[in-house]
């Protein structure tokens, strides 16, 4: 029998500290849907996804009811569409099909309008990438990601230059909604194939036909646990590890149960601590609990490095298969503490960039002035991607140049995406560097064979 303390601890974690499972993401391979006919490809995609995911939302809700833990999102990830549509050139038709599927299944997001162009872009992949602004501005739940670099291949700077323009175009086309389309677009280095989180989820080529990947959450639980720790940093790290173990165990339970009921493989549990804009669900507040006056203060990178590492150590023990991004997220608009720190001037883009060197997953949900040029955005992307390539880790950029707004104003996205104070950025031009194009070669230490 359990002790009352154990039962009450679990109940309080859920009811007061926002312990939840952020997402059950059902990965579905679309390789068997490839044809050279646009119409036929769309029909096969519709039939395949509906046959696998029609009950995803219901099953997610059932599991949530039975164990008493909220499962906030139910999502689908698919094989990168650029691979599936290459034979038929039917990407714009496929986006309509995916939009319809997202509506009919009632899921929260569908990821995989993606291309992997880390070494080079084929002519068709370039055409595909150019369609992203239309795809994201005319749909609500579809997410797109582009992998522009790996530690093995180096950085495809032609793709980086193009993505600066694509981000600007996405911003313009959704100018009435604070450039919301940019929140559904991620540029990656070393993208992972089993990521359950949006906007970067897609199902990689090495994966099974249908796979359940689960992302846990729970920054509030870690913060509350740390409130009672008075000791040194060893004790802080131990406390984070033990708490991460409990959080991850919930993810493991949900992933096991969901894969059984959906008749899919158990993929991975992603250990990322994912914040939400709700008070008491903030990664920034954990760092402040460790001892910073505000996130962004000197010492922030060190605290975050420790947090990230301790979460992994606790989580790995709790779970039979860990993957995805697995690190602390620091999305500015989705974290009450990050928003506050930006407002008071404690946190800027340069500090955020340093923080991404020690955690996943990159410059995330950062609103920048609407008049930022495409070259500057490409420069931001290039810097962040270089951190990932050189450190052999995943990094990403999800910035929103909010059309018609300037630094100090706000972008309002609502829901899980939150609201973001627009940050001032360095406006000196990297235009010549970006216009050179070509590829930044892979770093020396990636040649391990």
């Amino acid at each position: 029998m359990y002790s009352s303390n154990e039962i009450i601890e679990t109940i309080n974690m859920i009811s007061q500290q926002h312990l939840d499972v952020r997402t059950i993401t059902l990965g579905i391979s679309l390789f068997d849907c490839i044809t050279d006919s646009k119409k036929r490809t769309c029909e096969k995609i519709y039939d395949k996804i509906m046959s696998k995911a029609a009950n995803l939302v219901k099953i997610g809700n059932d599991i949530s009811d039975e164990i008493g833990v909220p499962i906030v999102n139910k999502r689908i990830s698919v094989t990168p569409i650029s691979l599936i549509s290459a034979a038929s050139k039917g990407h714009l038709e496929i986006i309509r099909t995916l939009d319809k599927i997202a509506d009919e299944t009632g899921i929260d997001f569908l990821g995989g309008y993606s291309a992997l162009v880390h070494k080079a872009m084929t002519p068709y992949e370039k055409e595909f990438i150019l369609s992203i602004p239309e795809a994201l501005s005319t749909t609500n739940k579809i997410c797109s990601s582009i992998n522009v670099a790996t530690s093995k291949a180096g950085i495809n700077m032609d793709a980086v230059a193009l993505m600066g323009k694509i981000v600007k175009d996405c911003a313009y086309r959704t100018k009435d909604k604070d450039s919301l389309a940019c929140a559904k677009l991620v540029v990656f280095a070393n993208a992972v194939e089993d990521n359950p989180f949006m906007a970067g989820a897609f199902l990689g080529c090495g994966e099974d036909d249908t796979v359940v990947n689960v992302g846990v959450s729970g920054p509030g639980v870690v913060k509350t646990a740390l409130e009672s720790v008075d000791g040194d940093l060893n004790e802080v790290a131990e406390c984070i590890k033990q708490t991460a173990f409990k959080i991850t165990r919930v993810g493991q339970l949900v992933a096991k149960e969901a894969s059984k009921r959906l008749n899919a493989s158990f993929g991975i549990v992603d250990l990322s601590l994912a914040p939400t804009p709700v008070v008491g669900d903030s990664v920034a507040h954990i760092l402040e609990e460790i001892g910073l006056e505000s996130v962004g203060a000197c010492g922030t990178t060190a605290c975050l490095a420790m947090l990230n590492d301790a979460v992994k150590k606790g989580g790995i023990m709790a779970c039979s298969s860990v993957g995805g991004l697995s690190g602390a997220f620091i999305p500015v608009s989705e974290d009450a503490g990050m928003i506050k720190a930006t407002e008071i001037g404690a946190l800027n883009l340069e500090k955020l960039e340093a923080m991404t060197a020690v955690c996943s997953v990159g410059l995330d949900m950062i609103a920048i002035p609407g008049d930022t040029t495409a070259e500057v955005i490409s420069g931001i992307i290039a810097d962040e991607i270089a951190i990932g390539v050189v450190n052999t880790k995943t990094t990403a950029v999800r910035v929103i140049p909010v059309y018609g707004k300037k630094a100090g104003e706000y972008a309002e996205f609502g829901g899980l995406l939150g609201r973001a104070p627009i940050m001032n950025i360095n406006k000196y031009s990297p235009a010549k560097f970006i216009s050179r194009g070509g590829r930044i070669p892979a770093p020396l230490h990636s040649n391990k064979n």
Binding site: Y2, S4, T10, I67, K246, L253, E257
Partner: protein, 96 residues
């Protein structure tokens, strides 16, 4: 189906009687029960087996929620697996 029913709220007469009657009426067996007063609050933990009940989990939950409202208490029912997962290293040894 093994589950944990937890009852938390201000202490008053008849809580155990009413909760166990409700469980009996739903054909749910109580296998273990512990009760304490923590920080002026009545806290009761029941390990139950709902395997013989004809009701779906959702309906059991709804009934207990109605009772909770009636008594001015919080009543949760959750599958035992969530507590095994969070508080036991070896989840094959259930609820030890």
């Amino acid at each position: 189906m093994k589950a944990i029913v937890s009852v938390v709220g201000k202490d008053k007469k008849g809580i155990i009687a009413k909760v166990s009657t409700a469980l009996y009426e739903m054909n749910i067996n109580i296998e273990n029960i512990s009760q304490t007063i923590m920080q002026d609050y009545f806290t009761m933990i029941m390990a139950v087996d709902a395997g013989d009940s004809n009701l779906k989990f959702e309906a059991i939950k709804d009934n207990l929620n109605a009772l909770a409202k009636n008594l001015g208490l919080e009543i949760h029912i959750q599958l035992q697996s969530i507590f095994d997962s969070m508080h036991r290293l070896d989840t094959t040894k259930k609820g030890l």
